[in-house]
Amino acid sequence: MHRPNKLHDELDALLDGRPVELTDDLAPLLEAADVLRAELAAFELDPEVADRHLERVLEGSATVVRMPVRQQPNGWDLRLRMPVRLQPNGWDLRRRVAAVVLAAALVLAPATMASAAALPGQAMYPFKLAIEQLRLASVQWSTTREAGERTRVADERLDELERLVELKMFSQLPTAIDALSRAVMAADAAVDEAAEQGEPVSGLAGRLDVVKGQGDVAVRRAESSAMTQQFPVVSEGTRDAIHAAVDDSQDVLAQPTVVSPTPTTTPEPPPATAPPATEPPPATAPPPTEPPATAPSSTADSGETPGSVDSQAAPDGWTLDEVSPASVAGP
């Protein structure tokens, strides 16, 4: 006596044409299957109908009214009663991306513009810092661009400090001075790193020296402006904090930008129209007896005499004709 499962398996094998011994139990069942198959085989599709079906599909002229299909958000197709992958086609994907970009533009553009003028202590200021971080992240692939962006950030901190002084927002001055110092230090490091990689950073170093010089002036102006104010406009605590911040900033702002020598660049010849009185020192080996007073490396590339930052076009179009770091080193 066969077990039921074995009988089921044997019948299934016989129906599929697999070699299985045909027992008396299964013979009538197989015969019934043959009868049914023969009956079903009599149902033949009319070739003309088949042509019409194919025309409906291939020519897109189908007028089939499909039954309403309610597709649930979790991808369960009620018609197929099976989970389906809800994959957007190319057009849908492009539409979604466009919608996201548009939404981001609608949100970010006004916010960026609104936050551009934000000062420390204002509601939009954190947003401004976040946008700066995004911009910095987007230029990480190039040391030169990163150095340029960090120099721009330092210049922005300087601008904020000057505006805070103008607006007499003294309570924010310690924060702003610290932020300026940190931004200048970061820009210094970035410029140095770019120089170590052989990038032409003389223009950036000059820009940064200008920021340092102006920053030093602005810090001292801020300090003196705060000290002239009476209590309660500026509290004692704020004054102490400003003093401390100014002292700390001197380590950064009073130092010229020192750029590592660039081994791959060759010093430019001195200008023919204005030859220096003495031979320009080699860029890689400045004379030990006369250490440069200001930015030696920023001038080494251009072959200029150390200690002067003349009108000079930076790579990105900045003109360094405003302030010489040496002239603004102190009041």
Binding site: P4, L29, L36, L40, L54
Partner: protein, 221 residues
């Protein structure tokens, strides 16, 4: 069937390749025609046995095929699973049709069976009459099965699906499908009077519809 050494492309039982499937997704006419040729006859037999009406079965076949080709980009299975997927669509088209019919008039199955017999190509009226009678008996026996048994047998015999494919289509286990298949065929064999030699002396099973179905004993008498 997988090719030897992975050099030959996998081919489904009905002769379709993954290339055909990919081309059909793009609605390339040759590939769509190959898919139609491979499955439309089976779909038509499935619908014909289920609804018993030639025109309705043709319409349902066309509708199911159009739905399948439109939904083919969603189908991510291998080409071997295409048949099961097509018959899932066919089943649900059939449910929709029956729901629609339930709201209007339900046509009796036997009214349309002559068309099925005529489709067999019988030219002799006597032969046609015998075929009609036999067809009526087989289809009536099929109709008297439980819906699960009938569906399994139709997918196996009309659709040409294997037991695992039927199981996947119906959401059952392969063992359950094999059991339903066994019971369904046993029931049909009883109704049609098909018995094994050692059962020949036994009394035949009573017909569920004595007016219409004839047992072997009745025929002998």
């Amino acid at each position: 069937m997988l090719g030897f050494g992975g050099e030959r492309e996998a081919v489904s039982r009905v002769g379709l390749t993954p290339t055909d499937l990919a081309a059909a997704r793009r609605r390339e006419p040759a590939a769509v025609t190959r898919v139609y040729t491979a499955y439309a006859p089976a779909l038509f037999r499935f619908f014909m046995a289920a609804v018993g009406d030639h025109h309705q079965a043709e319409d349902l076949t066309g509708t199911a095929f159009v739905s399948a080709i439109e939904g083919l980009p969603r189908f991510r299975g291998p080409v071997e699973a295409l048949g099961g997927w097509l018959f899932q669509i066919a089943r649900h088209d059939l449910y929709d049709y029956r729901r629609h019919q339930a709201r209007s008039r339900i046509e009796p199955l036997e009214d349309n069976l002559p068309e099925a017999a005529a489709a067999a190509g019988a030219v002799d009226p006597e032969e046609l009459a015998i075929e009609r009678l036999e067809g009526t008996r087989v289809m009536a026996a099929l109709r008297n099965l439980s819906s699960d048994q009938r569906e399994v047998l139709l997918l196996r015999m009309a659709g040409g699906l294997t037991a695992p494919e039927v199981a996947a289509t119906l959401g059952k286990t392969t063992g359950a499908v094999k059991a339903l298949q066994h019971r369904g065929l046993a029931s049909m064999a009883r109704v049609l009077g098909l018995r094994s030699p050692n059962q020949a002396q036994e009394r035949p099973y009573p017909s569920p519809d004595p007016d219409r179905l004839t047992s072997q004993e009745d025929e002998e008498r």
